[in-house]
């Protein structure tokens, strides 16, 4: 079956692209017996190419055997066979595919091509695997070509397109043919046509194919540009490049002598020290650069040191030459088409990058929102500053970690961990409210400090229990991976899940505050505790519950954050300042404000990172500065301002 397919494919490819060869594979091998016996990487290439192009169905089998060291030569007559170990020596198959009996072990010399030759064989075999009946093999062949595009692959690949019956693979092959044509196409028309066939496709592989075409190097020349140079643009020294850069180009092109470095000058001067002076300049004077130059010029004039370019000579040399950026690709039509295509793609990619950035910002915003929503309750509604809020987040994350120690099914463990984290931090929050915060409602600054004391203690406690190294909190497998729209836009499933979780919390908060008895009582207690108490609401109980819920939500946020961040005892303190900022910027006491604050901060941070992607520290610095300035103009936050403006 397999050889039938191969034969069919080869026939087809021969029909479409290859000149049919009259010789069989066996004949080619016989003709090149000497080269095959002692192959070297340099000499064997044409033989392998000839075999591959022979059109003989046996060629693939022969090449495969040769590459696997299964080709042998009978010592008696020098005939080649495909050999296989048998009980009493070798089982032989002749090169036409027919059984040729057996031979004793000593009668056959095994051919052992070296690694270089095997590489060549493997490349030649690609064209056969491209048409292999096993789909997985064809996919692997395509991947290997895409990963390491070689000019040789173009012909067999285009030959295999027509025989491909899998529509997906066929599309992939056609695409790859196009990409290879862009780089290695025979004529400039073919390459330009290939470039244009892609339109404004933003895929990475296309850009990887186009970018090398428009890569430039700087060259220096006197008079006309060197023949065959594909000039992108001419450079003017002083405008497009500095004089020093221009001169370095001249030195690199051997058009001018190297400039003297400070070190070389010092060595030269030190080597020519005579009687306390160099070139007539006293040693003591040589602590000034100007004196050193004078001494070197004197030595140069005396011929003791090689001449070095002076500033005037450098300027003259630069003025006498022209400089340009030249494409490495010599074909001007191709470079022009590639530049135009990249320009088209650039705008499309820009739009998509903006979309991707927006997605990133949205996911960061939902993380901030998750971290801050507990605070929106404790700080926003109750006006209690809880510096240990971050540690509640940490407790939630550690709860998730501990649950995973017991329940190894990640999906189940997360489902258990979420309510458990809520319970643990709810209890911690209630305990803290009862023991500490209750006594400090009238003293907000001291609440800040007391809860900070708790935060120190909890952090150290976590360190003592779990150690200082990061603990893993593993997401279930179905959250691995990312939702990929194209090469530019992608977002991981975890972040989508966190976004969804943030929405759930928002809905939960709104429901709790607006639709439940508890929410009503919470709002009553916040607005007027004395009046609420006189209407039968127990403010102590309400405060305790509210604080517990706020803390519990922090615990759930901790599980979510732990899924993508390292779980350490410092997990919470990384988020606490940003969380407070989120609440303050958004407008205290308003959940929509917290949402707006999280969105603003997420967008800001991603936006700044976009301008300076290498430096997230700087992005955070500038973001905080922005927030400080923002508070100047909107001291009551985003939403509070809108409310007042609406009232005017």
């Amino acid at each position: 079956m397999r050889s039938l397919y191969l034969a069919l494919a080869l026939c087809l490819s021969a029909l479409f692209a290859l000149p049919a060869s009259a010789e069989t594979a066996a004949e080619i091998v016989a003709r090149n017996a000497a080269a095959i016996e002692k192959p070297s990487r340099q000499t064997i290439g044409p033989v392998i190419a000839e075999l591959a192009a022979s059109g003989d169905a046996q060629a693939a089998a022969i090449l495969e055997a040769w590459g696997d060291k299964r080709l042998g030569q009978r010592k008696a007559d020098g005939a080649f066979f495909i050999i296989a170990k048998s009980a009493d020596g070798w089982a032989l198959t002749d090169l036409a595919g027919a059984d040729a009996g057996t031979a004793a072990k000593g009668d056959i010399a095994e051919l052992k091509p070296n690694a270089g030759v095997r590489g060549l064989i493997a490349t030649a075999l690609v064209q056969f695997t491209l048409s292999d009946p096993d789909r997985a093999k064809r996919v692997a062949a395509l991947e290997s070509i895409a990963k390491d595009p070689k000019p040789e692959a173009l012909e067999p690949l285009s030959a295999s397109v027509a025989g491909e019956d899998d529509p997906v693979l066929r599309a992939q092959k056609e695409r790859l043919v196009g990409l290879l044509t862009i780089r290695f196409g025979a004529t400039s028309q073919a390459r330009v046509a290939a470039i244009e066939s892609f339109g404004r496709d933003p895929a990475l592989d296309l850009r990887a194919a186009l970018n090398p075409l428009v890569a430039t190097t700087r060259i220096a020349f006197a008079g006309e540009p060197p023949a065959g140079a594909n000039i992108a643009r001419e450079l003017k020294p002083g405008r497009d490049l500095t004089e020093a850069e221009a001169y370095d180009l001249l030195v690199a092109a051997n058009l001018a002598p190297a400039r003297l470095t400070v070190d070389e000058a010092r060595h030269a001067l030190a080597a020519n020290l005579k009687d306390g002076a160099v070139g007539g300049v006293p040693l003591a004077d040589l602590s000034r650069q100007e004196a050193r130059d004078r001494a070197y010029n004197a030595l140069e004039a005396a011929g003791t040191v090689p001449p070095a370019a002076t500033d005037a000579e450098v300027a003259a040399a630069v003025a006498a030459h022209r400089f340009a950026e030249a494409y490495a690709e010599p074909d001007a039509a191709v470079t022009a088409a590639a530049a135009a295509a990249l320009g088209r793609i650039g705008t499309a990619v820009g739009a998509m990058q903006a979309a991707d950035l927006a997605l990133d910002a949205l996911s960061l915003a939902s993380i901030y929102f998750l971290a801050a929503i507990g605070l929106a309750i404790t700080f926003g509604v109750m006006r209690v500053i809880n510096m240990a809020h971050g540690e509640f987040i940490m407790m939630g994350a550690y709860t998730g970690y501990v649950v995973q120690l017991w329940i190894t099914n990640y999906t189940l463990s997360i489902i258990v961990a979420l309510p458990l984290a809520f319970a643990v931090t709810f209890a911690a929050g209630v305990a803290m409210e009862r023991l500490v915060i209750r006594h400090l409602y009238k003293r907000p600054l001291e609440t800040l400090l007391a809860t900070f004391g708790i935060s120190i203690a909890l952090q150290q406690l976590a360190k003592n229990i779990f150690g200082t190294q990061a603990r893993p909190l593993t997401a279930p497998a179905w959250l691995d991976g990312a939702w990929v729209v194209n090469d530019v836009i992608a977002i991981s499933y975890i972040r989508i899940a966190i976004f969804a979780l943030a929405l759930v919390f928002l809905a939960f908060f709104l429901w709790l505050m607006k639709r439940t008895r508890l929410g009503l009582e919470v709002r009553a207690v916040t607005q007027n505790p004395a009046m609420a108490a006189s209407m039968g609401i127990d403010p102590d109980r309400i405060n305790m519950l509210t604080f517990g819920i706020g803390s519990g939500i922090a615990g759930i946020a901790g599980v979510a954050i732990g899924l993508f961040a390292k779980v350490t005892s410092e997990l919470g303190s990384d988020y606490i300042v940003q969380s407070f900022m989120t609440v303050v910027v958004g407008g205290v006491g308003n959940i929509w404000g917290t949402l707006a604050g999280a969105a603003l901060i997420g967008l800001m941070q991603k936006g700044i990172e976009w301008f300076n992607p290498s430096n997230t520290l700087a992005a955070q610095t500038y973001m905080i500065l922005f927030i400080i300035l923002f508070i100047q103009f909107r001291p009551r936050g985003i939403i509070a301002l809108k409310g007042r403006a609406a009232g005017d």
Binding site: G643, R644, A646, G647, D648
Partner: protein, 247 residues
């Protein structure tokens, strides 16, 4: 007689609620005026606007002989320009002695540098002693303000106002929580003060207002409802409807 304080066409609203609605008001340089009105009539907001705590949405507020617009000034600038305010609840600095409270209020340069290098002279001590005498706190100068009785705190606050030497005094419910004797003392103080400066008293207590024996302005829903002597306004049918009738 030109007005010391001229409030005209002032409106302010909070989140859609109109606290002050096109209010106009004026008072001369040496006049005692009582402002009455039901809860929510805008009495306190009116004081907030004059002292710079609240910015109105519309209208003008001018003060002094060479009229200054108070709207562009901060609370501290307005206070230095000569507007003193006494709050409903006595707000004195309880952690500090009566002496320190009065020294702080005494008319003197207010900038940080000047205050840092300011040292108490014989004249200042004499002034403080005179003020303490006037408000009946001579024996309590060295005591912490927090230890004083409610009435004493009210007087200390009035003493601090006097120390500022304001040209306009805004007094919010001075008689609240006072004994009868204390009220009489307070009435005397207010009437005495109004001989040399403008005094605006916001008060609920009709007896107290009657005792002051001055022109009365009735506020209702952020606007002036009636103005005149107490007898005049209490005969006004509208006033009876909205205020006295309900009271």
């Amino acid at each position: 007689m030109s007005a010391l304080l001229e409030v005209s066409g002032v409106s302010v609203s909070f989140d859609g609620f109109r606290a002050i609605n096109n209010l106009s008001f004026s008072i001369g340089p040496a006049e005692l005026r009582a402002i009455i009105g039901p809860n929510g009539a805008g009495k306190t907001t009116f004081m907030d606007i004059v002292t710079g705590k609240t910015r109105p949405d519309a209208g003008t507020v001018t003060f002094g002989d060479r009229p200054l617009s108070l709207l562009s000034m901060t609370e501290a600038q307005i206070a230095r320009a000569g507007v003193g305010r006494k709050f409903q609840r006595p707000t004195v600095f309880e952690d500090q002695t009566v002496h320190e409270n009065l020294i702080m209020a005494l008319r003197a340069p207010r900038s940080p540098w000047r205050v840092l290098f300011w040292r108490e002279g014989a004249q200042d001590r004499a002034n403080v002693a005179a003020l303490a005498e006037e408000v009946g706190l001579s024996d309590a100068l060295a005591r912490k303000a927090g230890e004083l009785s409610h009435g004493q705190k009210q007087w200390l606050e009035i003493g601090m106002l006097l120390a500022q030497e304001p040209r306009l005094l805004l007094v919010d419910e001075p008689a609240a929580g006072m004994t009868l004797a204390e009220r009489e003392h307070t009435t005397r103080l207010l009437v005495e003060m109004a001989k040399t400066r403008a005094v605006v008293v916001v008060e609920h207590d009709m007896d107290f207002v009657r005792r002051l024996d001055c022109k009365v302005t009735v506020l209702h829903e952020g606007a002036v409802l009636a103005e005149g002597s107490l007898d005049h306004v209490t005969r006004n049918q509208q006033v009876i409807d909205v205020y006295l009738g309900r009271g």
